[in-house]
Symmetry: C2
Subunit: 84 residues, 2 copies
Amino acid sequence: MFKANVYVTLRTGVLDPQGKAVRESLLSLGYDETQEVRIGKFIELTLDVDKYEVAKERVREMCEKLLVNTVIEDYRFELKEVTL
Amino acid sequence: MFKANVYVTLRTGVLDPQGKAVRESLLSLGYDETQEVRIGKFIELTLDVDKYEVAKERVREMCEKLLVNTVIEDYRFELKEVTL
């Protein structure tokens, strides 16, 4: 069994209106030190797979096919073996 | 200048309908090994602050006041000093 932590972020240069709105809220709350805010997704997957290499390839495929819009988003992930 | 990576996840026991929908999509695509999917947020903040301790306290406050709904969400963050 493996657990994957997938981090999905907007590519550099892609506008992030949600991040902009959060930044403006932080500024209005007095957090004047806030320079930039970018908001992405953090996806935790639990996979019933025995081999690290298989898990790695399957997560890569899931990202490319469903989890990530690779036109505007980047991703990276970590895998760790877990026992449930 | 500090960069903070904030990871916001649903608390254990809180239902995650978005994660459930993604899991069902993965299963329908043939990824039968998918056991659980939980979806959270990944927030990158850039802060114009000089001291590590100040940055840490400010990010904690931002999380408690705006970024995280602490009733249903947990968070953790990492800080690193950056030069722009």
